[in-house]
């Protein structure tokens, strides 16, 4: 007890008042100001929001070319949609016609409404692009391999949830674009009926009808569908995404940080002071190897090649958040989110197009709904999920296009993937498909033999050939993934730019007939 302690209660009260800023700070930062590597480490470790981060990161993970920041970019775009989405909810009314009017109000009357709406729309698009590229990054660097198989699966959950968020958001404006895209989507959900009908099963076994009923809450797109999509879009799917993302980030830590080549330390060489060093004191380094079992970032390697997350990783993350926000804002300024006429169940939009990342599927659906909309997407998802369990090799892990075959194989696969997709599309556009050749062909055949089915088969055979040629499962996986990526890109391109009214092929929208 010091003598300087105030005597009267009033004096103590005044002293407490003066001390509020300091005491508030002390109460918030439990361990004092984090201004040394040590206190920063315990700050990251002990903070409920930060502790999903590792305390230290390997220098390899901070290299720009390791991730291109794509996972963080997806996270940043999600956060932006979250903030702008909450703002939009101040005015949005999830009821047919009222929904359209409220979006119109947001767009034309509400202060900054159009800008916020544009940012929301663009951030959603940026998120889809970032997630797709991030998945490709994880694939090409072999990040799906042991012990990261589980995180690859969680990532697939995130991909599906992201697409679900986009799809459910698409209906909310209740305009022509929304109404017809969702009508088509809901009927794709019902399309297993094509098979059950052909087999005369629909009376007793109707998964397609059940899916559509659960999705729409009715037999057509109406108020029930709108409220369901709203619930999914603003609550259920964001919660699912939060849960999956938390596990995703946690597992990165537990799996020993980002994947890196076995000889990463040699490649990096001794540490130059390229990274700013904030404080070196105290000199002792701290690592969590004693707490965390398994392959941690630093086991057996010494801590020389790791840096404290605070500030190095946090600066990188903040930088990408700013970049992502900048991209979304710039796009929102130059390009408005679309809003067509009020939904009209009697007149379809022509052409009725889904969001761009579904147009590749729409291209397949235009030949047969079940195979294009459900069959092939399921095959692709199952295939993606199996990759980590079918390729158990280790060569090339952590390197871009690592493994037998390497970059030349990927280039060859791009040629094969694009070439066969172009060939099959050209045949279908020029000469039609099964119904045009054999008008009497049974429906089941038309349903199952989609151009996409043929393409899938070609890709599968090519990849089996690669496995044999290189005597490596990684070579097959590299080929197959690249082919599907190319096929997806090509079909999306055709669906987006080369399909006009009645889903006819046009070289340019200028050739579309006037109607």
């Amino acid at each position: 007890m010091s003598a300087a302690l105030p005597h009267t209660a009033i004096e103590r009260f005044v002293a407490n008042l003066k001390a509020i800023p300091n005491n508030l700070r002390a109460a918030t930062l439990r361990g004092g100001t984090p201004n040394t590597d040590r206190s920063r480490s315990s700050f990251v470790f002990g903070n409920v929001f930060l502790h999903l981060h590792p305390v230290r990161v390997h220098r390899w993970s901070l290299r720009w070319t390791t991730t291109f920041g794509l996972g963080i970019m997806a996270t940043a775009a999600f956060l932006i949609t979250l903030v702008t989405g909450v703002l939009l909810m101040f005015y949005y009314k999830p009821y047919p016609d009222a929904a359209y009017i409220s979006i119109k109000d947001i767009h034309f009357v509400v202060p900054t409404g159009r800008f916020i709406r544009n940012i929301h729309r663009w951030a959603a698009n940026v998120m889809v692009v970032a997630v797709l590229l991030h998945m490709a990054r994880a694939f090409y660097t072999g990040a799906y391999r042991k012990p990261r198989e589980f995180n690859w699966l969680i990532g697939m959950g995130l991909l599906v949830t992201t697409l679900g968020l986009s799809f459910t958001g698409y209906l909310l404006p209740w305009d022509q674009l929304a109404y017809w895209a969702i009508t088509i989507g809901a009927n794709i959900a019902q399309s297993p009926r094509e098979v059950t009908d052909a087999l005369n099963l629909t009376e007793s076994f109707d998964p397609g009808g059940l899916q559509k009923l659960l999705l729409l809450g009715s037999s057509e797109v109406g108020e029930e569908a709108l409220i369901r999509f709203f619930l999914l879009h603003v609550m259920l799917l964001p919660l699912v995404l939060f849960g999956l993302a938390a596990v995703h980030f946690w597992r990165i830590r537990k799996d020993g940080g980002l994947v890196r080549p076995a000889n990463a330390d040699e490649i990096l060489g001794p540490r130059t002071e390229a990274y700013p060093v904030f404080t070196e004191a105290p000199k002792k380094t701290y690592q969590l190897a004693a707490i965390v079992k398994g392959k941690t970032a630093a086991v057996g390697k010494g801590p020389e090649n790791t840096l404290p997350s605070m500030p190095h990783l946090f600066y990188a993350e903040l930088g990408i958040l700013m970049l992502t926000a900048g991209i979304c804002l710039a796009l929102a300024m130059v390009s408005d989110a679309p809003l067509k006429e009020l939904a009209n169940p009697a007149v379809p939009e022509n052409p009725a197009k889904a969001p761009w990342y579904f147009l590749g599927l729409q291209e397949l659906v235009a030949h047969s709904a079940f195979m294009g909309g459900i069959g092939i997407p399921s095959i692709v998802l199952i295939g993606l999920g199996l990759i980590p369990f079918l390729d158990r090799e280790t060569a090339g892990t952590g390197e871009w296009f690592g493994g037998p075959g390497g970059k030349p194989l990927v280039l060859q696969a791009i040629v094969v993937g694009l070439g066969s997709a172009i060939a099959i599309e050209a045949v279908a556009i020029q000469f039609g498909w099964i119904r045009e050749w054999f008008p009497k062909a049974p429906q089941l055949l038309i349903t199952l033999i989609n151009p996409g089915t043929v393409l899938t088969l070609v890709y599968a055979l090519y990849s089996v050939w690669l496995v044999k040629k290189h005597d490596s499962t990684r070579a097959g996986a590299l080929g197959l993934f690249t082919c599907f990526l190319c096929g997806f890109a090509l079909l999306t391109l055709i669906g987006t730019y080369f399909r006009g009214p009645n889903w006819n092929f046009y070289w340019s929208p200028a050739d579309w007939p006037a109607h």
Partner: protein, 161 residues
């Protein structure tokens, strides 16, 4: 009289499950199955039992002059009503592929969404549609026709006035 003592259990014999373990396991399984049933019960809710859609039956007066082979589409409906020598019939305009509304042409119906084409009687000529357009039940009294959009009748069913 000989008393056979119960043989002592060998250390190598598997231990019988202690009562507490059994009760613990049983309650664990009970809790798990309760949760599974609760989840199934909750999934029951979103599957609507009563569909909130208005009646799909409507009455309409056909225009005086309805050329043969040209359907009349009552405003706001997705049906074309035809009249020829054999009688009146109604063909659904909802594409059997993915639910777009088809447009009538000289020779039949075209779907704007993925290019399915149907003949005047609804049979598929081209494109991805898996089934012919539906025919609906009609009832004629004088000049007014009642159509039930929810019903379906075999193609070719025409009703005389």
């Amino acid at each position: 009289m000989t008393v056979t003592p119960t043989p002592a259990r060998s250390r190598l014999d598997p231990e019988p499950m202690p009562r507490r373990d059994f009760l613990g396991l049983a309650s664990l399984w009970a809790a798990a199955s309760t949760m599974v049933f609760a989840a199934i019960g909750m999934l029951r809710l979103p599957k609507a039992a009563v569909l909130a859609s208005p009646s799909k039956k409507f009455k309409v007066n056909l225009p005086e002059s309805l050329p043969q082979g040209e359907g009349f589409v009552p405003p706001g409906r997705s049906v074309a009503v035809f009249k020829d020598k054999e009688g009146v019939y109604a063909v659904s305009l909802i594409c059997t592929h993915l639910g777009c509304i088809v447009k009538q042409t000289q020779t039949g119906f075209d779907c704007p969404c993925h290019g399915s084409r149907f003949a005047l009687d609804g049979t598929v000529i081209k494109g991805p549609a898996p089934a012919p357009l539906k025919w609906h039940k009609v009832a004629v009294s004088g000049s007014s026709v009642t159509v039930d959009e929810e019903s379906s009748v075999p193609a070719g069913t025409k009703v005389q006035a």
